[in-house]
């Protein structure tokens, strides 16, 4: 076994690899960019080497610096993780040329599988079923148009060198094709340095299933069963599970055989994943092979009990496969959910900022693989994934229920997350029934995208939090900096009545809280809605008053809130603009209210012609003074590794561009001066 390895990655996967290495007595070297100097992956390793500035292309993608770091620190092998250089054949070759071992397949295999078109040819020859498509050298729009017509719309454009949904576009009609080709080429060039595309039939109701394989590079290839990663947003997986639900045993057997055959065709070495489209009936089609550890590998680990990173290290060190096919068993079901810093309600746009608070479910509830911690910034430089939450149980339904509970304990403040969205996904009846497909999110979108509506449990949790802090404020050591201390707080040994403002969807509400004389643990709340102080003073409050009662019991950081006989666990964390209330079934933000005016604290102006997030301008897509239709793209920017189009809100013309290509822009920065045409 190696004495020391270098981990050429960051975030959760680097932390996760370091954990196994440490358990095996292998020393680890981290690499980091300027943005990651104090990141958890740096601390998880025994040594750390700076490899460059924040942008990935100047650090985590700089193969020569990473190899030099390995040579300098005496690392015998390099684990590439996923993403970055993990599927870069030149990197694998250069690592070996420098006398190090690349923990992964041979450069030859990566090259063969890295080109989607070559991979498809190879698999066709090996008898693995593939989808109809075009993957020729002619990259003209005319050819793509002709081929798309031949295959039949809808079609999928993919970067030949791609993966992870980058450089991938669904095209429904001929008129969208030219734009989609241009943008997929740009993204392909930016992400992989290769703008070549291929086109294939888009299978409408498809499932995404994949086989985890492992080879020793000497002819032996085994599978560790399959995963279902059908539930995706923007072609990016967000919930994955093992085994695949509702798959007939004969189809499953063919799938697993096809996976092993694909691995055998290239004499595969190390961990690999063979991805297939499954039409829900009898057919599976080869899509691509990922020559690395997958993000979703933990679900396989939980059903097989195998540590895939340990296998990677053993095979790379020349040991045989730890288990033969007959000895690899599966047990139960496992589900993984990816927690992203993003806004599901705003087309999953990344949410940038500082994580001021971050808490995960305890270890007995879920496995959590994370590479960020409270106090850290989610930057536009890298993938905004915060953590993976993985659970298992004897059966799938129980695993999904455990996932729903575990997600309720993921509490992040400072950025928006997809946690509530994932919770609705995991508990959705169709999900429970195993009725998954790549169109799951579009199909159930009305039930999945719900605004965070306050409920009386949330109001009660907030009022309880205020009351508790008001009580603490009476303590001499407590800094009396809360606006609430100036209001009537709860006072010991006095008839307790307090009044607080609560930010409600339709305006500020006044909550009068009294102790129930018959039950000192219960509180009665009179809620007067639309009751700003100014309106109240003017006698113009037009709100209505209703009442509810709650009981609260503190257990450490958690509070149990009971309303109408229903009990929910709650936690209240202060945010920059107010408070975030975490309940079992939802997360609700309450803005801080100026008690005098009753106005909301946050008055974020929203304009479609400002930068939605920090990023770099990649193209100016309109001409100054030339009329454009509503929805026309004006500016393209790249942020969080994704392209974003800034579009004309209405018909009009660009009066002036305030930015140039290559400019770094901050969130909310004005990009375009736009005039509507009268």
């Amino acid at each position: 076994m190696f004495a020391k390895i270098l981990i050429a990655n960051r975030g959760e996967i680097a932390v996760r690899i370091a954990r196994t290495a440490r358990r095996m007595g292998v020393r680890t070297v981290a690499v980091f960019s300027d943005a990651d100097a104090g990141a958890p992956h740096v601390e998880a390793c025994d040594e750390a080497v700076r490899i460059g500035p924040a942008p990935a292309r100047d650090s985590y993608l700089k193969s020569e610096r990473i190899i030099e770091a390995a040579t300098r620190t005496g690392a015998e092998a390099i684990h590439p993780g996923y993403g970055f250089l993990s599927e870069n054949a030149d990197f694998a070759e250069n690592v070996e040329a420098a006398g190090c071992i690349f923990i992964g397949p041979t450069a030859e295999t990566i090259r063969a599988m890295g080109s989607k078109s070559a991979a498809k040819d190879l698999m066709e020859a090996a008898g693995v079923p593939t989808t109809p498509g075009y993957q020729g050298a002619d990259q003209s729009v005319e050819t793509f148009r002709r081929e798309a017509q031949r295959i039949g719309y809808p079609v999928l454009l993919k970067a030949t060198a791609g993966g992870g949904g980058k450089g991938m576009r669904r095209v429904d009609a001929p008129m969208q094709l030219a734009d989609a080709v241009a943008s997929a080429q740009r993204e392909g060039a930016a992400s992989f340095g290769d703008d070549r595309l291929l086109i294939e039939k888009y299978i409408e109701t498809a499932r995404h299933v994949e086989v985890q394989i492992f080879g020793d590079g000497k002819g032996a290839v085994v599978h560790l069963f399959e995963r279902d990663c059908s539930v995706q947003r923007r072609h990016q997986k967000i919930i994955e599970e093992a085994p695949a639900p509702n798959m007939p045993p004969d189809v499953r057997a063919r799938l697993l055989d096809a996976g092993v055959a694909a691995g055998a065709a290239v004499d595969y070495r190390g961990a690999g994943t063979v991805e297939f489209l499954y039409d829900g009936g009898e057919n599976v089609y080869f899509m691509e092979m990922n020559t690395r550890l997958q993000v979703e590998h933990p679900v396989t680990e939980l059903i097989t009990g195998v540590d895939l990173v340990e296998w990677q290290l053993r095979v790379a060190a020349g040991e045989p496969l730890p288990l033969l096919q007959d000895a690899i068993r599966e047990c139960g079901a496992a589900v993984e959910a990816r927690i992203y810093a993003e806004k599901p309600d705003a087309s999953f746009a990344p949410s940038i900022g500082r994580l001021t608070h971050l808490a995960f479910p305890p270890a007995d509830m879920a496995r959590v693989d994370s590479g960020v911690r409270a106090g850290q910034d989610i930057t536009p430089h890298y993938d905004p994934m915060i953590a993976k939450v993985i659970v298992s149980a004897s059966d799938r339904k129980t695993a999904l229920k455990r996932m729903t509970q575990a997600l309720a304990r993921v509490r992040a403040v400072g950025v928006d997350t997809n946690t509530d969205f994932l919770r609705r996904l995991a508990s959705h009846p169709a999900m429970m029934a195993g009725d998954v497909s790549t169109r799951f999110i579009e199909t159930y979108d009305a039930e999945l995208f719900l605004p965070a509506i306050a409920c009386d449990h949330a109001r009660a949790a907030l009022l309880h939090h205020f009351a508790r802090n008001a009580a603490a404020a009476a303590h001499p050591n407590h800094a009396a900096d809360s606006p609430w201390t100036s209001l009537q707080g709860f006072r010991l040994n006095k008839p307790a009545k307090s009044v607080f403002w609560i930010d409600e969807a339709d305006g500020p509400a006044l909550a009068r809280v009294t102790v129930d004389p018959r039950d000192p643990a219960a509180r009665r709340v009179e809620l007067e809605t639309r009751a700003s102080a100014a309106l109240l003073r003017a006698g113009e409050a037009d709100g209505e008053t209703r009442a509810f009662a709650y009981r609260a019991a503190d257990q450490g950081d958690e509070t149990s809130i009971e309303v109408d006989g229903a009990r929910k666990a709650a936690a209240v964390i202060e945010t920059a603009g107010g408070w975030r209330v975490f309940l079992d079934d939802r997360t609700v933000d309450f803005a801080r209210i100026d008690p005098m005016s009753g106005a909301r604290g946050d008055a974020a102006a929203e304009g479609s012609l400002t930068a939605p997030m920090p990023g770099v301008v990649t193209a100016l897509a309109a001409e100054v003074g030339v009329h454009v239709d509503a929805g026309a793209t004006l500016v393209m920017m790249e942020a969080m590794k994704m392209e974003h189009a800034i579009k004309a809100p209405v018909a009009g013309k660009v009066a002036a561009f305030r930015v140039a290509v290559g400019d770094q822009v901050g969130e909310g920065e004005l990009l375009v001066e736009f005039e509507t045409v009268a």
Partner: protein, 186 residues
């Protein structure tokens, strides 16, 4: 001698300025501190009290590590001042340690830079920054420009990964308050 270090309060400011002025034997560094106060560009600042007066002062302000159009936030330790009559008593070290801890408590993920005598700053785990690829915006000052991170500075930690190719150098810019030094030398 009983010396206590604490975060600078408003009441400490006039005396702290006096210490800075006396230590540098000129007014520029004191102007820098005043400018940082008015700009609000202080991440952490501490004073050490001994014999009922302030004997040392240190401040940390925001800096940026720029590479092309990309920039990431960092920290800059400056100025560090010990009253002339109180020097060589460890008051400098005491105030610097407290200030570094306070700054990293707020920003654990950032790199911290200092311009100064390597023989002195080595004890705080600072290492020459040029070897790791950082250059001070004011030009090449050899090993005087130094860097550390919160936790790994003393380990083999931050080390150079590649040679000295200028292409990968990141420029470290101090906050606007430091422009008063530039005005001095046209």
């Amino acid at each position: 001698m009983d010396a206590k270090t604490r975060i600078v309060s408003h009441a400490d400011r006039p005396q702290a300025l006096e210490v800075v002025r006396a230590a540098f034997e000129q007014d520029l560094e004191a102007q820098l501190v005043e400018r940082m106060w008015t700009d609000g560009s202080i991440i952490a600042e501490c004073v050490t009290h001994a014999d009922g007066r302030i004997v040392s002062y240190a401040a940390i302000s925001p800096a940026t590590i720029a590479f092309g159009s990309e920039a990431v936030p960092a920290l800059a330790l400056a100025p560090v001042a010990v009253a002339p009559e109180s020097q060589r008593n460890g008051f400098g070290e005491q105030v610097v340690r407290a200030t570094i801890d306070a700054a990293f408590a707020r920003h654990p993920g950032r790199l911290m830079f200092v311009l100064g005598d390597p023989a002195y700053y080595r004890r705080f785990d600072f290492r020459p920054a040029a070897a790791v690829g950082y250059q001070w915006e004011g030009g090449d000052v050899g090993d005087a420009f130094q860097v550390r991170s919160k936790d790994r500075a003393s380990a083999p930690g931050i080390m150079a990964a590649a040679g000295s190719d200028a292409e990968r150098r990141s420029i470290v810019r101090y906050c606007n308050a430091f422009s008063i030094f530039r005005q001095e030398t046209p």
